[in-house]
Symmetry: C3
Subunit: 208 residues, 3 copies
C-alpha cells in the first residue's frame, strides 16, 4: 500500500470505530445505564471484535498500539450520549454507517490474519470476528440474546461470505487491493441488499 | 509419545471438537437461531475452552495452528443442523459422547499446561477450563445461566477432580501416559457415574 | 520499590483477590449454584479483570505466574461457602473491603500498563479494567445485567477518575509512589464518598 492509501485506511477504520461506538450508545438507550455503563457498552461494541482477533492471533492489540481508536470510540460515545438527550437521532443513518463498518472491519480482520500467515478458513473467520463479534459482546453485556444469532437479515453471514470470497481471490494470486475490494463490496452489497429486501438464512428447528 | 499415539490423540481431539459442536447445535435447537447463530454457538462451545486456555498460557491457539479443528466443528454443526430437521436425533448418544470429550479435553488441557511449565494448581484449572469452559461460553451466548454452575450432576467438578489426580500422579514422577490415563478415566468414571446415580455437590445457600 | 514495599504490595493484592472472591460468593448466594458454580463465579470475579488486562497487554497472566493468587481466591471462596451456611456474614464489611480492593487493583493495573509502555489513555483504561471488569464477568456468568453499568453509586467511574489522575501525576514527572498514592486515594475517597452520600452519574435517556 502507498502511504496515502494507508493513511486513508487508518482514517476510515477510526471513523468505523467511532460509528460503532455511537450506534452502541443508541442501542443501549432503552436501558437505565449511567454514563459509565454507556461507555462500557460503546467500548465493548467498537473494540471487542478486533481485540479478540488480535489476542487469538497473538498480535499487538490495535487500540493499545494506537490509542486514537480508543479516543475516537470514547469521544463518539460521549457526543452521542449528550446529543441524543436533546435531539432525536436518525437511527437509519447509523445502521447504514454500521454496514460500511462491517465491510471495512471484515476486510481489515481478514488482511490481519493473512499477514499472520493464518490458514484460509481461519482468515475468513477472523474477518467475521472483527466485523461482528463486537455486537455479540455488546448484547452479552446488555444481558440479551445476541441479535446476530437470532433469525433476521444477513449480518455475520454477509461478513463471512465476503471474507471467504476475499480469501479465494487472495489464494488465486491476486493482490491485496483486488481481494479487499471484492470482499468488502460483497459484504456491503449483501448487507444493504438484506436490509432492503429482507434476505435471511434458514431458521433452525430440531425435530422433537 | 510415539507418532502413532500422537496421531491417535489428534484424531480423538478432532472427533471431540466435532461432538461438542454437534451437541451445541441440539442444545441451541429450542431457540429461534438462524444457521449463522447455530454456527456461532457451535464454534463457541467446541473451541471456546481451548482458546481461553491457549490465550491465558500464551501458546499458539490450537485451531489457528491447525484448522482441522475448526473445519470439524463447522462440518459437524452443519450436518447436525440439516439432519436434526429431518430425524429426531438420540440426545443420549451426544451426552455420552460429551462425557468422553470432557475426559479427553481435561487431559489435553492439563498436559498443555504442564508443557508450559505452569504450577500444579494452574495445571488442574487449565484441565477444567479446556473441558468445561466451552459450555459456559455457549450458555452465556444463549443468554441463560450456565448449566455447569447450577446444581446438577457432577460435570466441571468431575473434570477438576480428574485433573487434580493427573497432576498428583505427574508430580509423583510417573510418565505422561500413566498420568493421562488416571486422570482421564477418573473424569469419565465420575461423569458417567454421576449421570447414572445422580451424584451432585452441595448447593449453596447463604444464611439470611 | 524496595523489597519490603514490594512484598507488602503483593500481600495486599493477594488479600484483595481473596476479598473479591469472598464477596462474589455472597453475591451468588441467592441463586441455586452448587459448590463448583460458586467457585467459578468467585474465580471469574477475582481473577477476570487482571487476566483480561494481562492478555490485552501481552504480559504473563498474573495468577499463572504466581499461583498464590489462585489459591487465595479458592480458599476464600470455600471458607465463605462453608461459613455463610452457618452465620449471617456482615455484607457491609465486604463492601468496604471491596472499595479498598478497587483502589488497589486500579493502581496495580495502571502501573502494569505503564510498565508495558502503553499510552496514557490505555493506562487509565487498564486501571479500570483491572479494578472493575471482574464484577462485569461475574454478572455476565450469573445472567444479569452488570451492576456497574446500571445507574447507581460511582464504581467504575471512581476507578477511572483515579486512574486518570495517576497517569497525569506520572506524566508530570512524579515517581510511581506519589502517582500510586494520589490515584489510589482518589478511587478510595470517591467510592467511599459515593456509598455514604449516594453520588451518581447522569443516567442515559435517548430522545424518542
Amino acid at each position: 500500500m502507498t502511504p496515502q492509501i494507508e493513511a486513508w485506511v487508518i482514517g476510515a477504520s477510526i471513523a468505523g470505530v467511532a460509528a460503532q461506538g455511537a450506534a452502541a450508545v443508541l442501542e443501549a438507550g432503552r436501558r437505565s445505564f449511567d454514563l459509565m455503563g454507556v461507555l462500557v457498552v460503546a467500548l465493548a461494541a467498537s473494540l471487542g471484535g478486533g481485540s479478540l482477533r488480535d489476542m487469538l492471533l497473538d498480535r499487538p492489540v490495535f487500540w493499545i498500539a494506537d490509542q486514537r481508536y480508543l479516543l475516537a470510540a470514547i469521544v463518539a460515545a460521549l457526543v452521542t450520549f449528550c446529543v441524543a438527550r436533546i435531539w432525536r437521532l436518525p437511527v437509519r443513518l447509523f445502521v447504514i454507517a454500521d454496514a460500511f463498518g462491517l465491510a471495512l472491519f471484515t476486510v481489515a480482520g481478514a488482511q490481519a490474519a493473512i499477514a499472520s500467515q493464518a490458514p484460509w478458513l481461519v482468515v475468513s473467520l477472523m474477518g467475521v470476528m472483527t466485523g461482528a463479534a463486537g455486537g455479540l459482546v455488546r448484547d452479552v453485556l446488555c444481558n440479551q440474546t445476541p441479535l446476530i444469532m437470532l433469525s433476521g437479515e444477513l449480518y455475520a453471514s454477509a461478513s463471512w461470505l465476503g471474507a471467504l470470497l476475499l480469501v479465494a481471490v487472495h489464494e488465486a494470486g491476486f493482490g491485496p487491493d483486488v481481494a479487499s475490494m471484492t470482499g468488502g463490496l460483497t459484504v456491503l452489497g449483501l448487507r444493504l441488499g438484506a436490509m432492503r429486501y429482507h434476505w435471511h438464512l434458514p431458521v433452525f428447528s430440531a425435530r422433537e
